[in-house]
Symmetry: C2
Subunit: 390 residues, 2 copies
């Protein structure tokens, strides 16, 4: 196990009817709130009305930043920062999916800065303070409700970049599985893929590290998410499936399974951010198109053992005679799961051709430089991974 | 899944040579520290000297409370509170096993109270503030380094009681696996049993709840702890085994696997606390003597399904035709593990006879009233469990 530090101070309030306590829980953060929301799903599900009423009943003045879309954009963040500064906002509530939560975090940080928040994403500034953030996720996917990360797309430059800070952990997140009942099948699946990918990137942390605790936790969450994603797609209004998927997706990127595995650069997220920045595909769909190829590439580089282990522990693969055979079967079984939940399995499935690889790789390389990733993920390597994913 | 709240703000610094940063990390908590230690193991391992030097190099004045033993006693807590108040201690460092950490927490709370800290254990007072606590565990077992619980024995009344508070989460805990290299085989085993028991009590949370996330996490940690305990006993100075056991034991009682399983009263800990209060057996040995019988009793009450599941997931049991058959095999396989790590498997193995059951049950009942446990664990039930454990 590698040395690590772990601290996740976010308070989780999980379950049915928990939004009733929202006003009481948030009044310590002041009286002027910026409510960040997406396009319309929170209004359709009734969550928007319940949140707004809860806040107003507690005497909190609510300002709004609405219409946040998938692959959330910098201009909306700037707009939110403007409101926050002008209206002397004391805390942020983000009600929505990962895009909404990440926008909320970026506004929370930007409201306390004199420089442009984009400089944080470019690695030229650090977040040193932020407004308190409260998250109310409506999708089981990003894990943003229990971590200090945010991903924003600069629509002018075409870069989708991630940044993080200990100051950006939500103070409290309200996880009500019923808010996800109305998520359509395709986005339920994309959310499941996103959460599985958050687990697999640190899981494949090198040729042969000894990380049994982290492996067990990741494998258990992968199994749960794979199974519960299907359960939620079959029965979208089943509380137990939605609850299990929601909590597993939150734990998938709260630092728990990464602690102790050593440095690892989330290369699939890095490459996918380029894909969704350039082609406007859904994040989870982009990840699905990359994961099988990336696992094959990983097996070719680090040896087949860990992919084989994934197959045996999570994908029902048994009886293969060699690790190499087992790794091949594992990736095929993973592709079967992607087929079952109607996700793409390759770049071709997204209508992205080989001719596009260089553009994607160059965009990804720019990110990797900001993330200060070692030379492993240079242009040639990214091109090679992309060819495995074609 | 049941509604829950989860918040664990403890910062973990894990790995090799981490104590070098101790002085720097703790200087925010003030300049006057009470160092709580056990009898001699921290001195033997060199940890004591390193900690003391680190603090003194940072200009921190160190006071000491030494000689804390297994089943830590109230008189030592009173002594620590006296020092803390007299010397205007600003923070506590607990260097040792669960007994030392729990004593440190009780002193931290008591130093901020005008009433006797024992009233907290008796449920008549609550902890409303506490001195900052820093833990440096030297044993993988109690999980006290990442939770808000403490267990203290009142040697006058013969009661060993638990109490908890959000104010008692350590601010930071330093987990250096090398500090556990010198733990002898029997205490390594007792620590493993303690950690497994922390997982199994919430795992057996009723006849048929749907908690796949919690089950997966608990099962993964149980497998790891069972295997790594043996690894550590075979190779006491193997860093990787000690690291995996240490981190798994910490996660076993940090709230993670309990969140969402609903109310559950830790009955085995409750009964064991009575046993170790009365007979001065090591906590882990007492738990080992109770666990197989308790699982048999559980299977008879709630049905054999969950015990069977444990057998299939963690104990290598396959091929049994019925759940009942599988549950019987599971308990036998668990007993095999206890034999391998040279632990008792019944009260008889501890030389405790049937004649003692009533005394144990009455002591346990007193605890259960303080814990406000429902009628499930009345005198008859505890007597019945004890008879399964004989």
């Amino acid at each position: 196990m590698e040395n690590f530090e772990f601290c996740n101070p976010t308070r989780i309030v999980f379950g049915k009817d928990i939004l009733e306590s929202l006003g009481k829980e948030t009044e310590t953060y002041g009286q002027r709130c910026l409510l960040v929301t997406g396009r319309s799903s929170a209004k359709k599900s009734g969550a928007y009305d319940r949140v707004k009423k809860g806040l107003q009943d507690s005497g909190i003045t609510v300002f709004e930043l609405t219409g946040i879309q998938s692959n959330p954009v910098l201009s909306k963040v700037h707009k939110g920062i403007e409101i926050a500064k002008k209206e002397k906002i004391s805390f942020i509530i983000a009600l929505g999916g990962g895009s909404v939560m990440d926008t909320g975090k970026a506004v929370a940080a930007g409201a306390k800065m004199n420089k442009d928040i984009w400089q944080v994403f470019e690695g030229r500034e650090e977040v040193t303070e932020a407004l308190p953030v409260v998250c109310i996720p409506t999708l089981a996917a990003s894990g943003s409700e229990m971590n200090g990360f945010m991903v924003i797309t600069n629509e002018e430059s075409g870069y989708k970049l991630a940044a993080g800070s200990p100051h950006l952990y939500p103070k409290v997140s309200f996880l009500d599985p019923e808010l996800t009942f109305t998520v359509p099948g395709d986005y339920t699946a994309y959310g499941g893929v996103d959460a599985v990918c958050h687990l697999l990137e640190p899981y494949f942390n090198g040729p042969d590290p000894y990380t049994p605790v982290q492996d067990e936790l990741a494998e258990g969450l992968v199994r749960t998410i794979m199974s519960e994603t299907k359960g939620c797609m079959r029965n979208p209004r089943d509380y137990e499936h939605r609850a299990a998927l929601m909590w597993a997706a939150t734990l998938a990127l709260n630092g728990l399974t990464r602690a102790g595995v050593g440095n690892h650069p989330f290369p699939i997220h890095l490459i996918e951010h380029s894909i969704s920045a350039i082609y406007q595909v859904a994040h989870g769909a982009g990840l699905a198109a990359l994961l099988p190829g990336w696992m094959r590439w990983k097996a070719s580089k680090d040896g087949p053992q860990k992919v084989a282990q994934l197959g045996q522990k999570c994908l029902g693969c048994h009886g293969e005679r060699t690790d190499k055979e087992a790794a091949i079967k594992a990736v095929e079984a993973f592709e079967d799961w992607l087929s079952e939940i109607e996700c793409p399995k390759s770049l071709s499935d997204l209508d992205i051709s080989r001719d596009e690889h260089k553009k994607i790789a160059q965009n990804a390389l720019f990110q990797s430089k900001i993330w200060d990733i070692d030379d492993t993920y240079n242009l040639d390597t990214i091109m090679e991974i992309l060819s495995f994913c074609q």
